[in-house]
Amino acid sequence: MSELKPMSDNSPNSPERRRFIGAATATAAGLTLAPGVMLIEVAHGRPDEQAASSAVRWGMLVDATQCATGCDDCVTACSTENGWTPIAESQHKKQAPQWIRKLELQNPLTQMETSLPMMCQHCAEPPCVDVCPTGASFKRADGIVLVNRHTCIGCRYCMMACPYKARSLVHESLNDTQKPDVPRGIGCVEACTFCVQKVDRGDGTTACVEACTAAGHNALLFGDMNDPESEISKRLRELPTKQVRADLNLNLGVRYHGI
């Protein structure tokens, strides 16, 4: 919703001016609202009937130097957006769904502590897709790795194959507690979807990124890695970043700075 902020900054707006801005947004879609402020929806939104395109590759940059120890706003936001029960509230903690989790790491030699979120890395060459016996695990054209729950048989082979422990199985019936935008159910494997429902809506961001930005940490950045002008591409050009288990050559969609 950051694209709406510039309007709130001009707070002494008369109703006429507001109406004018509203009309301007509706008609002159694609233009800049204020210098340097693009409507994100326009920049990345695609019409409902248009398929996801491989011209886009969604990715995330995690700045571990900004990620606060003990903060799990990203995890809470993910659980709220996607409707999964957080581990703390789960009756069977070892079986609890885990789309994103916080890791606190310590270098045994230097004692340096690192805090970072870990989730599906949306590999360009995903091992979970390689091993899936039914083709349920797949990579969408825009690089988002998903599970087609209509064909998933819950064998959990992909959970074994994933080097990042990113996937979990829904063990128990969810009794109609799902969000209308996020179908999920018993007997299927699931993981981070890069908030595909938000991406397709044209939000151009994910719940965890929104929460991290709202908390003022700015440790997460989401965007199109194929667009050289996108914020994430610019940052990736400037910052030294790493892929977790880069030795596996999976070409990850999530890149870490400061690990």
């Binding site: 309007m7 996801a52 957006e81 969408r140 729950r149 209509h150 109609d176 935008d181 159910g185």
Partner: protein, 149 residues
């Protein structure tokens, strides 16, 4: 005499049972009770003719689901979410909670199990403004909606 009494008892019981049967709501020779088809809570008419939808809704939904999941095509016309938005019952707010709710009513008549709602929500989406993450910006949405009118 004993035999006569026994015979009389049998005749009386049969008659009583037959009489009770007439008053009962048991299915008649015509077949099972017809499903209750509730009027949609919003919308004038369905996306296709009623007769066509009764026979083919599953094909439309199947086709649409593959396009949506695999390619990210999210047109609304044949989307299950839109079915739910219009057909959720006024009483339960759902299409498949009570036995008279829209989907369940026909499906139990036809004895066809619905798998959709193992994963999909049976209730319409709450308005965007209700979402806690959008609470901060919700009033902008209202303003902009108002401006368009």
């Amino acid at each position: 005499m004993k035999r006569l009494l026994a015979l009389g008892a049998v005749v009386l019981t049969t008659a009583a049972l037959a009489w009770a049967g007439l008053d009962d709501d048991q299915p008649k020779a015509g077949g099972a009770p017809k499903p209750v088809i509730a009027e949609p809570t919003k919308g004038e008419r369905c996306v296709e003719d009623e007769a066509y939808m009764r026979r083919n809704h599953m094909k439309l939904l199947d086709h649409h689901r593959d396009e949506t999941v695999l390619q990210g095509i999210r047109t609304k016309k044949y989307s299950l979410k839109e079915c739910v938005n219009c057909h959720a019952s006024k009483k339960t707010g759902s299409v498949a909670t009570a036995k008279d709710d829209f989907c369940v009513s026909c499906h139990s008549y036809a004895a066809v199990k619905i798998d959709c709602f193992d994963c999909h929500s049976t209730k319409p989406q709450a308005s965007l403004a209700m979402h806690p993450l959008n609470a901060e910006a919700a009033h902008y949405k209202h303003e902009m909606d108002g401006d368009e009118q």
